[in-house]
């Protein structure tokens, strides 16, 4: 019998399960932790940060009590330093590079320190940035996720007039709709959006969809430059029997519903949940299902554990929440009848080159709900066919985030080199903004 229902747990249990995953550091904790930073030369953590934040520099400022300066050091490289402090897989970025790992296997808690430094600025709405004199340039930014917001903010700083388009009602992109709720509590994503917009010079137009309401070619006509940061809004399909059965859901949609729910308990959750995929989305939907009261949650990934997109921290998080991770198994068929009741898997074997092959051995996992978390792709019709060079379904860009189409830049998950990380998207947006500003100014001067 299918068992999907809301309110499996009490209101208090839900509240506890969706509270801050990493509570903020107290003042004492922060300065003691800051003291652990060795203030390295040419610091490996900074090199490992996609946005190149001067990490020893901001930690030094925490140590000295210069929190405003610390926040400025962070946010001037990464305007979403607050969100990144919460969601970055620091264990494979800055904290993995920390030299403290060599002898004690315990890096400086850079993520938590970054949060400590940036929280006051967002809580108190302290404006740390100002706009240069208006350049007279008008730039369209399509997509209000991390890449677009970062690009818009930097362009506004540089003096451009920015129009920011997004198809959703709220800005923030995956920060608002796609990150596990316990990683960003207290409406942080919107507070950060508000902070970013407060610099001024950014006109926001929500509910506007690229490819439907607006097009690249029209934007090129109306604006001096266009930045595309639309992410990957379409979900990949399994292409197996039973995929259309009720009870088979896209993980990203469920995660979005959960983020937008005022009462998380009212979201229906299956008693037995099977998640297909191996990335952060798979972990997020699995752990959140468990925290909503699912009895049994299984993640099934077709390759090896090492090949999973989810970091070790995320995998451990899933396991400590009671989620079972199965590797080397691919789905053959979603079982019915009439509603998903289970998934038939075939075990796979990994070759030395990382490829997998079928073994012929099968097994079944019962399920009330099956989540697909096997990746996303660009929505059809977003870009006019053939106008922009693509590779494997993503936009090709150069080191300045410029596309093959003159006057169009792109960044975030929708470009080649996008890696499903907020921090990478922020860097793309920043780099593109600087490139756009440079391009427009040199063109103006007749050098372009």
């Amino acid at each position: 019998m299918t068992d999907i229902r809301p309110n499996r747990l009490s209101r208090d249990e839900i509240a506890r399960n969706f509270s801050d995953l990493h509570p903020p550091l107290s003042h004492s904790e922060a300065i003691v932790e800051a003291d652990r930073c060795y203030f390295c030369f040419d610091a490996p953590c900074t090199t490992a940060c996609p946005t190149g934040i001067d990490i020893p520099g901001f930690i030094q400022k925490i140590r000295s009590g210069n929190l405003r300066g610390s926040a400025h050091t962070i946010l001037s490289e990464n305007i979403m330093g607050g969100m990144c402090a919460r969601v970055c897989p620091t264990e494979v970025l800055c904290e993995e590079a920390c030299v403290r790992n060599t002898h004690e296997e315990k890096p400086v808690e850079i993520g938590l320190l970054q949060r400590y430094a940036t929280d006051p600025v967002l809580n108190d709405h302290t404006q740390l940035f100002s706009r240069q004199a208006a350049s007279g340039f008008r730039v369209a930014v399509v997509g209000g996720g991390p890449a677009g917001l970062s690009c818009a903010h930097r362009l506004a700083m540089l003096g451009s007039a920015v129009t920011l388009f997004d198809r959703d009602e709220k800005l923030g992109g995956l920060n608002e709709y796609g990150i596990a709720a316990y990683k960003t509590v207290d409406n942080f994503a919107q507070r950060e959006v508000d902070y970013i917009l407060s610099i001024g010079g950014i006109e926001v137009r929500t509910g506007v969809t690229l490819g439907k309401d607006i097009s690249i070619s029209r934007l090129r006509d109306e604006f001096d430059a266009v930045f595309v940061g639309v992410g990957l809004a379409a979900v990949n399909v399994l292409g197996i029997e039973g995929e259309d059965l009720p009870g088979v859901e896209n993980a990203v949609e469920y995660i979005a519903d959960l983020r937008q729910a005022t009462d998380k308990g009212e979201l229906p959750v299956g008693r037995r949940v099977v998640v297909i995929g191996g990335g952060m989305t798979a972990i997020d939907v699995a752990v959140q299902s468990k925290r909503l009261g699912a009895e049994r949650v299984d993640i099934v990934y077709r390759r090896t554990s090492d090949q999973m997109g989810a970091s070790d921290f995320e995998k451990n998080l899933a396991q400590s929440n009671g989620v079972t991770i199965h590797t080397l198994a691919r789905p053959l068929k979603i079982l019915g009848p009439g509603h998903a009741s289970g998934v038939l898997f075939e075990r796979t074997a990994a070759g030395e080159d990382g490829s997998i092959s079928d073994t012929g051995e099968t097994f079944t996992l019962d399920a009330d709900v099956v989540f697909k978390a096997i990746g996303q792709q660009l929505r059809d019709g977003v870009l006019e066919d053939g106008s922009i060079r693509m590779q494997n379904g993503k936009i090709v860009v150069d080191e300045g985030q410029s596309t093959s189409l003159a006057g169009v830049w792109a960044g975030g998950d929708c470009v080649v080199g996008g890696d499903d990380l907020t921090v990478t998207a922020v860097q793309h947006g920043k780099v593109a903004a600087i490139a756009i500003d440079h391009y427009l100014r040199t063109r103006e001067e007749g050098y372009g």
Partner: protein
């Protein structure tokens, strides 16, 4: 186990750790607790004339902290005892009766008036105290009244007051010196010339800790105003060690017994003082920061250290490092060391590189064959020890002597012969060899 029994001026104590004259020794209650905890002796908080002085009722102390609030330096503006003289005398007498095996010394401070010394010193002695310590050191408050460091900064006054004390006393007299002088030797000589049986040092150092960042007044303050205090704690130990060693290695003062004071927090600190010439040590700040229980590690650690060195008693250690202290001009200029970075231990923080690059001799790489790697460039290394000092990993960077061949920096052959500045050709005042 090494024997920690201590004898200082004939005064015996079960270990060489005495509490210094300070707040921890102001009352019988505290001294009892200290002796119960195992302290070898105590110097009673300084007594003055009767009626007693008064103290402020605002902040008397403040500290410099590490980020995890460990006290590194400490400052006080407390004056001498503010309790009636008779109360103190009665308690001292009782404590000495109750703890006959512990050293009990009484610190005193009087104006430059012989009659006052003649009046009070016999009253102190009458308690049965083992010795009298003359407080010529406190730099705050009492110095404004011509006492404490106001005496200790004028060798003639030291000698005079010491003579008055000696004339009135039959027990040993220890002179406690102030570090607030350009050179510790004249005060030490003056104490000796005045007949002092020993010196103790250092007292605290003139200091203002910081400002209050809200009010931009000095901190701490009493009703908005502050005054300089005396600085002590771990931070002052090197200053104290230098002064102790100066007295210990100077022929005119080298026979003067020394009670070492200044930032002693653990047994290693005590080893420093003892090896550099002190016969025993006195402790205050560490007790005020951690309580009396620290005596456990002080005694146990020192005993284990003596064992590890094959020494049977504290006296075996006293003065052992004194012969190694000399003037700069006698350092061997033919001796060459180079830093060596242990690549197995190196965590690649690069601190050694950046400090050498920015502030010293550009003698440490940051990249070797395209890889992040920190190696000493012997052609540039002057052996300054800066990298060793800043390296966060103990033992990762060491100094090694170049025993033969030539110094790649200077191209000069390494010589076994010693040669110092006194005979160096660049020295216009050189002596002929």
């Amino acid at each position: 186990m090494a024997n920690l029994d201590s004898e200082f001026l004939g005064i015996r104590s079960p270990n060489p750790f005495w509490l210094a004259s300070a707040p921890p020794t102001d009352k019988a209650y505290n001294v009892n607790r200290a002796f119960e905890a195992g302290w070898g002796g105590a110097v009673w908080k300084t007594l003055g004339e009767d009626p007693p002085i008064v103290n402020v009722s605002g902040p008397r102390y403040s500290a410099i902290h590490s980020n995890d609030r460990r006290v590194i330096g400490f400052n006080n503006i407390e004056l001498i005892t503010d309790r009636p003289l008779q109360t103190n005398l009665d308690e001292i007498r009782q404590i000495k009766r109750d703890w006959p095996d512990r050293a009990l010394v009484v610190s005193v401070m009087y104006p430059m008036n012989e009659q006052v010394w003649a009046k009070y010193v016999p009253m102190i002695e009458d308690t049965g105290a083992d010795a009298i310590e003359l407080n010529f050191g406190c730099p705050h408050g009492m110095s404004e009244r011509g006492m404490g460091s106001a005496v200790g900064q004028v060798p003639e006054y030291i000698q005079m007051a010491t003579e008055w004390a000696k004339a009135a006393a039959t027990v040993p007299v220890v002179v406690k010196l102030t570090p607030n002088v350009a050179n510790i030797l004249p005060p030490a000589k003056a104490a000796k010339d005045g007949g002092a049986d020993a010196v103790s040092l250092i007292n605290t150092i003139n200091s203002i800790m910081r400002v209050d960042y809200e009010t931009l007044t000095m901190y701490p303050s009493t009703d908005g105003m502050g005054t300089h205090g005396g600085y002590c704690g771990e931070a002052v130990k090197p200053i104290a060690l230098n002064m102790v060693a100066e007295i210990a290695r100077t022929p005119e003062t080298s026979h003067l017994p020394i009670s070492g004071i200044g930032g002693i927090t653990n047994w290693r600190d005590a080893v420093d003082f003892l090896a550099l010439g002190a016969s025993n040590v006195q402790v205050c700040t560490a007790a005020m920061v951690y309580g009396f229980k620290i005596i456990d590690d002080l005694t146990d650690g020192l005993s284990n250290f003596l064992d590890s060195k094959g020494m049977n008693s504290v006296s075996d250690l006293v003065g052992r490092a004194v012969p190694s202290v000399t003037d700069w001009q006698y350092l061997n200029l033919n001796y060459v060391e180079k830093a060596l970075i242990d690549q197995e231990l190196c965590i690649e923080c690069g601190r050694c590189h950046i400090v050498c690059e920015d502030t010293s001799h550009q003698a440490i790489t940051h990249t070797v064959n395209g890889q992040r790697r920190f190696e000493v460039i012997d052609e540039k290394c002057v052996g300054c020890n800066l990298c060793v000092s800043v390296c966060p990993i103990d033992g990762c960077i060491t100094m090694r002597r170049l025993g033969d061949g030539f110094d790649p920096r200077t191209g000069q052959p390494i010589s076994d012969e010693k040669a110092d500045w006194t005979t160096h050709p660049n020295n216009p005042m050189r002596k002929s060899r």
